[in-house]
Symmetry: C2
Subunit: 347 residues, 2 copies
């Protein structure tokens, strides 16, 4: 059965925006004006700071529409943008979405995209307050600006970690990367097959982590309940190595993490083995996990572990650099990409 | 002499951002955290509302790098984004810029782009507080999010116009459109010429209006000095017809504007004549003027005209629709694009 296909040009820009934003209701108490004017209006409560972040995702670079369902993509762009706010201990409140549209994308696909956005927004209590659409010469381009708020004393920067602080990690790492590897493999294998039936059985968790990553606002709730305010925090979008090094650079410190403490899901290890990849490399450099990496004072060790959050290492002096310690006691210097290096003898 | 050309890949994403944002200092009193963390932090003063808008511009659709100097482009993207805030009577305070980069753009060109952004930001007292860079499969993509603030009683919506209000217009219309026509003509004419020398003499004003449009925050100052708060306001990005119709739709009213009152610059008329184009069409539908269209109560006529602002018509009942009145008394129904239509007899 052929799917209905409406060209964007048939609706025009204003008609399209009206259609896509239908069913979005502004509910957040700080939203004063949502879609429909030149700009959105937000009025934070007294003592609250506003947090702002923007991300632009490109078809062919950040996502591949041959296997990325539009609904999931809509959900994921919200996570990608809002995760930066969560990493500062803020609650998301508003979102603006700009689209660059290629003519090959029909209105129905955009409705699916917005259904995903709507679902993620509803889950987090976020209002859609603006955006625009334009033609793009090539693929789909999605630009998302996210707004959040937090009482100023609770905003967590990257820069507050100090020596002896514990390095804590939510969830597990490398699953999103392996999900992407699986999708890419099936795309390659089935490129010339008429009715492709990709084999995903047993790896559903990996697909979900890549296609539909969840925001870890639940972690903020847990920490708030325990009255834990991290000394520094960052979200894991580029990979543990790169993001930990960013945190350390901002905090002017070093770090030591322990290989055997890095949480890796069973499906991640299994698929990595099947594909002859190193699951530790997936965890260190895979990226797109959208888990949280944060530091707390040493005194909070028990409290954090009681929440089921892994402590994977601790903060050191800046001149010690960032290292991964293997079970046999070797120190490997972390790098933003690629394999960790064994340091020269004089380090 | 060959220009120096550094590939973006030589610096990496973090190196590039460091280079481009060097020399941007956060100065606005509401900025708490600028570039360098997961998100920017803004703390508005009590009683102030925050205004947010986002625009994404695409090479080949919104600008042509064969004749658009990078510095001007940087300046213009700030105007394009911030103009939406000005149109709500807000003062711009923060800006975030995301880039999608094609490999053909060297680091030096991006430095020029950021010099233009820096110049516009300095002129308006705006802080650059964030953004990211990614690869784009094709041309340059620039996504800008602008943040402004205003005391809540002074925020002007599109929706406040009522019957008998005067329709006021800053500056003149159609100049940016004619500037674009001139650039496109010279590009066509000189496409196969080895050392092209485009002929722009006598039309410098048109080029400036297209390549380097200025924000009309000066108009906000004038209105504030006279204690005039418009009942409704919109910025002219799509063209007078389309934007006036948007304002009327939001305000649930009609409008009548008078052809002979529409301000058109001499260079606009001259080039239009030379190119066999209708200057009135350029004014009605050209777009990209970034002037302000606003309404005030009838009682303010003298006050507004004393400021040198043109009154081009007045607001009517919704069922009367939006019309352009010609000097011989004909009523032409405005359309979002194309020539105004003469209404059927029964209207």
């Amino acid at each position: 059965m052929e799917q209905k296909r409406t060209e964007v040009a048939a609706l025009g820009e204003f008609g399209l925006i009206d259609l896509l934003t239908k069913g979005f209701e502004a509910k957040h108490p700080t939203t004063r004006c949502a879609v429909g004017d030149d700009a959105a209006v937000v009025e934070p409560e007294a003592g609250q700071q506003l947090l702002l972040t923007t991300e632009t995702l490109f078809e062919g670079v950040d996502f591949d529409l041959t296997y990325f369902p539009m609904k999931h993509l809509g959900y994921k762009v919200v996570t990608v943008a809002v995760s930066d706010l969560v990493a500062m201990n803020a609650r998301p409140s508003q979102l603006m979405v700009s689209l660059g549209l290629s003519s090959k994308i029909p209105v129905e696909a955009l409705e699916d995209l917005y259904e995903g956005i709507r679902f993620a927004c509803a889950e987090q209590g976020i209002d859609l307050v603006g955006g625009d659409t334009r033609a793009s010469m090539t693929g789909l381009v999605i630009s998302v600006t996210a707004v959040g708020h937090a009482p100023k004393e609770l905003v967590v920067r990257r820069s507050g970690a100090s020596k002896h602080d514990l390095i804590c990690l939510t969830g597990n790492l490398g699953a999103a990367f392996m999900g992407l590897q699986l999708l890419e493999r099936e795309k390659r294998v089935l490129a010339d097959v008429a009715n492709p039936e990709p084999q995903f059985k047993g790896y559903e968790y990996l697909l979900e982590k890549y296609l539909k990553p969840r925001l870890r606002t639940d972690v903020l709730d847990m920490l708030a309940d325990e009255k834990i305010v991290p000394t520094a925090m960052i979200d894991l979008s580029d990979g543990l190595s790169s993001d930990l090094m960013q945190l350390c650079k901002s905090s002017k410190c070093g770090a030591r993490i322990y290989l055997e403490r890095i949480p890796i899901a069973r499906q991640t290890s299994e698929l990595a083995e099947e594909m002859h990849l190193d699951p530790v490399m997936a965890a260190l450099n895979g990226g797109e996990d959208y888990e949280l990496l944060f530091t707390v004072p040493l005194s909070m060790q028990e409290q954090v572990m009681r929440l089921g959050i892994d402590v994977i290492g601790h903060i050191t002096d800046e001149q010690e650099g960032c290292h991964l310690v293997t079970p046999d006691g070797q120190f490997m210097r972390l790098r933003a990409q690629g394999f960790p290096e064994q340091p020269a003898k004089n380090e």
